[in-house]
């Protein structure tokens, strides 16, 4: 927290790009309007049926074709001239505002790892298929015994005695989209003797290979968004290795760093949720027939919540501005993630309090209330996954405050 004085040109950068950004925003907004496939709910991504899957794949393809998704890729793989990193943020914000289906792993992680570390063959085979909506990707990282402490993972990729490839055995868990993904980005241990991070290798894995079994996990929300993936002697070739053998940690962490500005979209998400919270308070009727929103105590709680949302909006904007000029502090991401995900939980808790105090909710409100029941349960996914809040606090404690490792 020591006075941190740096000279930069954040404001100049933003002002200069301002006109362009707003023009791009308008373009994206009109592209999405009436065309985007709607999300079923917060975090609900898996298509309900073949028809919806077809629609989602078509939507992802059209976002690529229009130069919105994958716009920052090298030109030879379909990137768009004139693309600015902030356009990725604008796109994500507008997808959220328009309640349109948005990509997760396939663009943010796999594509960047392939672009940065892939062989020419891998790029040629894989990148066009992402753009065409033909390949949906998932991550095969976490394991039952390796969650926040990912580097302790145990899935083994051992030399194949019958060839020059690998046999992969182990269990992965919490893989989003794995039940309908075509490809997986796998992190497995290739050198058990090396250090925790040093013996890991990244692989690109066709999800249909023999020995690979995907089992969706029914979560407390009632949906099955995460999967267990069992690998029992899955045969991979040298062509499936992404990057250098035993350099997998670098491959996946550099991918995680890509499109960092997406963190900014969380602010839009929170603002949208706050509006929905006010809608809930408008439609929830207390036993005397009045709307919850008419009451000063509810208004006071909403005002407190709005101030928290504003804090997060500014924390996130601040982070994005630094990312855009490549000047972020290592703790900026954890600060933004902790602030966003915990404030999100606070909003859902207030929603539940409002619902609990309501004697009746009209037909329109019932839909809002159902959404908040789901949001309440789903909110914990955000404070647990992608680095649990406890991990974020530890990173902030060490990297921002300079405290010793706990």
């Amino acid at each position: 927290m020591a006075a941190d004085v740096r000279t930069n040109d954040v404001q100049a950068n933003v002002v200069e790009a301002g006109a362009d950004i707003e023009a791009y925003r308008a373009q994206v907004r009109s592209f999405i309007a009436g065309r985007g496939v709607p999300m079923q709910g917060e975090g609900v991504r898996v298509p309900r049926d073949a028809e919806e899957e077809k629609a989602i794949r078509g939507w992802l393809r059209s976002l690529h074709e229009a130069g919105h998704l994958g716009a920052g890729w090298p030109a030879e793989w379909g990137g768009r001239a004139g693309h600015l990193p902030i356009h990725d943020l604008v796109l994500m914000e507008e997808l959220i505002r328009g309640d349109a289906y948005r990509p997760l792993d396939q663009v943010m992680l796999a594509a960047h790892a392939i672009i940065e570390f892939g062989t020419d063959t891998q790029k040629r085979e894989l990148l066009p298929r992402i753009r065409a909506g033909e390949h949906v990707w998932c991550q095969l990282f976490s394991e039952p015994e390796a969650g926040s402490d990912l580097a302790s993972l145990r899935t083994r990729a051992e030399p194949d005695p019958d060839g020059d490839g690998y046999l992969v055995t182990g269990q992965k868990i919490w893989s989003t989209d794995a039940q309908w993904a075509d490809m997986g980005l796998l992190l497995a241990r290739t050198d058990p003797a090396a250090g925790r991070h040093a013996g890991l290798t990244a692989f690109v894995v066709p999800m249909g290979l023999p020995g690979l079994d995907v089992r969706p996990i029914r979560e407390m929300t009632g949906y099955a968004e995460f999967c267990e993936v069992f690998l029992d002697g899955v045969r991979l070739g040298a062509e499936h290795v992404l990057g250098e053998v035993n350099s997998g940690w670098k491959v996946i962490t550099s991918g995680l760093a890509s499109e960092r500005a997406f963190v900014g979209a969380n602010a839009v998400q929170l603002e949208r949720m706050f509006d929905d919270l006010v809608s809930l308070a408008r439609t929830a009727r207390l036993p005397d027939g009045s709307a919850a929103l008419e009451h000063e105590d509810i208004q006071a709680k909403l005002a407190d919540a709005l101030a928290r949302v504003e804090e997060v909006r500014l924390i996130v904007r601040d982070t994005v501005e630094r990312i855009l000029v490549d000047d972020e502090h290592p703790s900026d991401g954890p600060v933004a993630k902790l602030a966003y995900s915990e404030t999100n939980v606070a909003l859902t808790e207030l929603a539940m309090e409002i619902i609990a105090s309501a004697a009746s909710i009209d037909a329109e409100g019932a839909e809002v209330a159902d959404r908040w029941h789901h949001n309440f349960l789903w909110g914990r996914a955000l404070t647990i996954s992608g680095g649990a809040s406890e991990i974020m606090r530890g990173l902030i404690g060490r990297q921002l405050l300079g405290l010793p490792r706990a």
């Binding site: 308070a281 408008r282 909403l302 005002a303 101030a307 606090r393 706990a406």
Partner: protein
């Protein structure tokens, strides 16, 4: 003359527009003249080392002319009245430093008064006082004649006037008549400080104007509303200054203090709470900075921004400081350590503006939640 003063004086009229470079200081992107002001203030206040034990300076009036020379009273006065324009960002930076230093003066009220007085039309009395305040010779506090404050037949009272005694002029907003009453001499009022002794870093009193005294000042409604908004925003900034200084100090303490063979900051029970506080402190800082940045936007936006800042800080700062006390343990519980000065002051900052409740009500209005009835 400070860098802040000379930079602006060198190019009259150009003011801040001439400043192009920006810097990030304590989470806020700011202009170099504000950085210079902050550094000059820390030098003058003796708070260059923010981790040192704080002290209360009861004799703040003696050194006030020196701080005034840095430009402090003029930050929110228009240039034609020898001010710097409406530099809410600089005023927020100054209030933050004064809060961190436990300064005894009524900076929020003084700045609000200056802004209002500077908008009085053709008023030699207001102009004369303004000139005195800008040089630091005089100190004008700010208060509100309350609707509920009728004491006798004709006597009215302004509750909770920060800086009395100490100030030698008072500008009181008369809520019932929507204008301002200027009291130019301490003989023009009687003050009762007996009920306002919790915050020992500043003085505060309930004030009763002496019958027949007082000069009515007419200012445009917009200037009066902005003066109140400034007052509330600077009180929030004052508390943020205390939060940041005490958080820095607590983090330093947690990194040094050993228990069970290791620094207590290495225990998750301590470290994780400090991390949460660091995030919250950044949030408060940025919400206050945003309200300052947009301060000359249209009035409803200003009202919303100031209410958000007030809610954020008045509900967050006292709780945060109280938890820092827990994390600092027994030493924090001593008078000498001084953490309690900031707890008292942050509470008073909230109370002076009747927050968080007043700001919550204000937000409810601005957001349209009260339209239903």
């Amino acid at each position: 003359m400070s860098m802040f003063v000379s930079a602006s004086a060198a190019q009259p009229g150009a003011g801040v527009d001439a400043v192009l470079t920006t810097t990030v200081v304590d989470d806020v992107v700011t202009t170099d003249d504000v950085v210079a002001l902050r550094d000059a203030l820390r030098g003058a206040l003796g708070t260059t080392r923010q981790d040192l034990a704080p002290a209360v300076d009861a004799d703040w009036r003696t050194s006030w002319p020196m701080l005034a020379e840095l430009g402090l009273p003029a930050l929110c006065a228009p240039e034609e009245k020898d001010g710097f324009g409406l530099r809410a960002d600089a005023a927020v930076a100054a209030a933050t430093e004064l809060g961190a230093a436990l300064h005894g003066g009524p900076f929020a009220g003084l700045t609000a008064s200056v802004h209002a007085l500077a908008h009085a039309a053709d008023d030699p009395v207001a102009d004369a006082l303004l000139a005195g305040v800008l040089t630091g010779r005089r100190v004008c506090a700010f208060g509100r004649l309350g609707r509920d404050g009728r004491v006798g037949q004709n006597e009215r009272v302004a509750r909770l006037v920060d800086g009395v005694p100490g100030a030698d002029a008072l500008l009181l907003l008369d809520d019932s008549r929507d204008d301002l009453v200027l009291l130019l001499d301490p003989a023009d009022w009687t003050a009762d400080p007996s009920r306002h002794r919790f915050d020992i870093t500043r003085t505060c009193a309930d004030v009763m104007p002496v019958a027949g005294r007082g000069h009515r000042v007419a200012v445009p409604g917009d200037a009066a509303r902005r003066a109140v908004a400034l007052y509330e925003l600077l009180l929030a900034a004052d508390a943020v200054g205390g939060v940041r200084r005490m958080l820095d100090r607590t983090v330093a303490y947690a990194g040094q203090r050993q228990a069970f063979g290791r620094p207590i900051g290495g225990f998750q029970a301590v470290q994780h709470r400090l991390a949460d506080h660091a995030v919250r402190a950044r949030g408060m800082t940025l919400v206050v900075a945003e309200a300052a940045r947009r301060f000359d936007d249209e009035p409803s936006q200003t009202r919303r921004d100031v209410a958000l800042a007030s809610v954020s800080v008045s509900s967050g700062a006292p709780r945060l400081l109280h938890d820092l006390l827990q994390l600092t343990g027994g030493i924090g519980f001593t008078w000498e350590y001084g953490l309690h000065f900031y707890e008292r002051r942050a509470h008073q900052d909230a109370r002076l503006a009747a927050n968080p409740r007043a700001a919550q009500r204000s937000l409810a209005d601005v957001e349209g939640w009260t339209d239903g009835r």
